[in-house]
Amino acid sequence: MKKIINRPDDVVDEMLKGLVLSNPDKLSAVFEKRIIYRKDPYLNKVAVISGSGSGHEPDQAFYVGRGMLDAACAGQVFAAPTLDAIVDAAKLVDRGRGVLFLVKNYTGDRANFEMASEMLEFEGGPDVDTVIINDDVAVKDSTFTAGRRGVAGAMFVYKIVGAKSEEEGVNLKSLKTLAMEVNDNVRSMGFALKSCTTPAKGSPTFDLGPDEIELGVGLHGEPGRQRVKFMPADQVIKTITDAVVEDLPYASGDEVAVMVNGLGGTPIGELYISAKIVHEILENKKIKIFKTYVNNFCTSLDMEGCSVSLLRLNEEFKKLLQSPADIPVRYF
């Protein structure tokens, strides 16, 4: 394994140090707990927190700032953050109006946020509520299973909810409703050309042959549902985009935001080739594109591949998407 790292166990801590050192005007941190939070003083708003394992950069910690998240809890690589960090983060950024947890649907994340919520309730700490994000259409939903995962579409939830939380008079309950509404309108699916290598394991999580691709991969090097023969971009992007469109379904006349999200090891040029294909597919289906996001937004270390997310828009979503967020990565 060749990576620009020192000891595998220090990867997350050193990365977060680099993030804060590089954004001294925007970010503060409690490094021992891996909490990154907004530096600018703010008052009288519901606080928004997300958190998950690391390895998805620029997820969570990189989206902290006015107009998006108030704090992020980073776990070790691919491991949900610990409950004590979540508890401390909630206390840190609460301004007396309560805290909304935005949590991607993974057992580990849910369990730790749930334990933290119970602890806060027990301690009489800030009011908290949680919205679970589950946009991945690659996983069939069912009450007997862990259900659909949360993947890159979560960025839309962070953005819209974060923007709304800055508006006057918004309370925890209405913010929760908005978060659920965004989640209900977003769907995603991804594929990989190459798995990722975690610093701890040192070799790829799964092996793909030179002419194979993995459809429906998650964000953690979990293998996907199906291994298929390599296809040209036109075909594979159509496969995943169609699956996304049909799931909600998005219909002719809908207006959407598109996200083409690189999984970490794929060059940006290939993401724009993919974006072109998505545009053509949606044009064919008479689905109108309001805004397109193309970049690495929520990655899996060095995994090669990408995901496509769609968000069905209404006027409020559009307004909130457009309002600038003062975050380390200013994509939004």
């Binding site: 595998p8 166990d9 394992g53 776990g75 070790q76 690589v77 691919f78 491991a79 949900a80 953050p81 610990t82 409950l83 004590d84 960090a85 993974y106 057992t107 580990g108 849910r110 369990a111 730790n112 749930e114 334990m115 690659a138 996983v139 007997f144 299973t145 862990a146 995962r149 975690t198 701890a200 394991k201 999580t205 799964f206 429906g216 998650g218 953690h220 090097g221 979990e222 293998p223 996907g224 549902r225």
Partner: protein, 222 residues
């Protein structure tokens, strides 16, 4: 024979040793998941080793809670939450009893199991998780308790405990073995569907190793 607190500390130390040594095996088994189970568990039990010195000041129940919080605070992920929950709930159930009876231990394990299942989103046997090892172990302990003579369990007896633990270990081991052929319905491995078959669930191995450690310590007394 040693008192229960010393025994517990020995068990914790033995379990730490086994689980730290199992890092690579757990990582491999988690490769239908996300390959972080081994390093997380290793980190967690290294941290437990770091707080063993504090146990002298604590009662049995608090030692268990300390272990649970240490694991929950350092591992993260599902295994952090589940192991943390397991030890914390066991400790809570033991409460401030300094010399719990066998029945107390079994009740504690049972309540830990219940909270773990709830925490996992109603995890059931057959979902291919650590519950597949833990639930049979708890059931086996209960059964053994019924079989034993009231006299043997009326108060703490290392011999009876050994028999209970042997039953628990065997049941955990067999439960873990059964996960090999299962399709995961919970946890990250569930996303791969049919392809999750063929690998032992790593969490179930953790449970087996903890019971194995306990058993070995108890055997060393007899």
């Amino acid at each position: 024979m040693a008192n229960q607190k010393d025994t517990l500390i020995k068990v914790i130390e033995a379990a730490s040793k086994k689980l730290i040594a199992a890092e690579n095996e757990l990582t491999e088994l988690d490769s239908m998941g996300d390959a972080d189970c081994g390093s997380g568990v290793r980190r967690g039990f290294e941290a437990v080793n770091g707080v063993v010195g504090e146990f002298a000041q604590l009662e049995v129940g608090d030692i268990l809670k300390k272990v649970g919080f240490t694991l929950a605070y350092t591992i993260g992920g599902t295994s952090g939450a589940m192991l943390g929950t397991g030890f914390i709930e066991t400790g809570k159930s033991i409460g401030d009893k300094s010399n719990p009876e066998i029945a107390d231990w079994i009740k504690a394990a049972d309540s830990a199991l219940e909270v773990i299942k709830r925490r996992g989103g109603n995890t059931r046997v057959g979902d291919k998780t650590l519950v597949d090892a833990l639930e049979p172990a708890v059931i086996a302990m209960k059964k053994m308790l019924d079989v034993l003579q009231p006299a043997e369990v009326s108060e703490y007896s290392s011999d009876a405990l050994l028999q209970v633990m042997e039953a628990a270990y065997m049941a955990a081991r067999e439960g873990s073995d059964r996960t090999i052929d299962m399709i995961a319905r919970k946890g990250r491995a569930s996303y791969v569907g049919e392809r999750s078959r063929g690998n032992r669930d790593p969490g179930s191995l953790i449970v087996v190793l903890i019971f194995e450690a306990a058993l070995e310590v108890l055997r060393s007394y007899s």
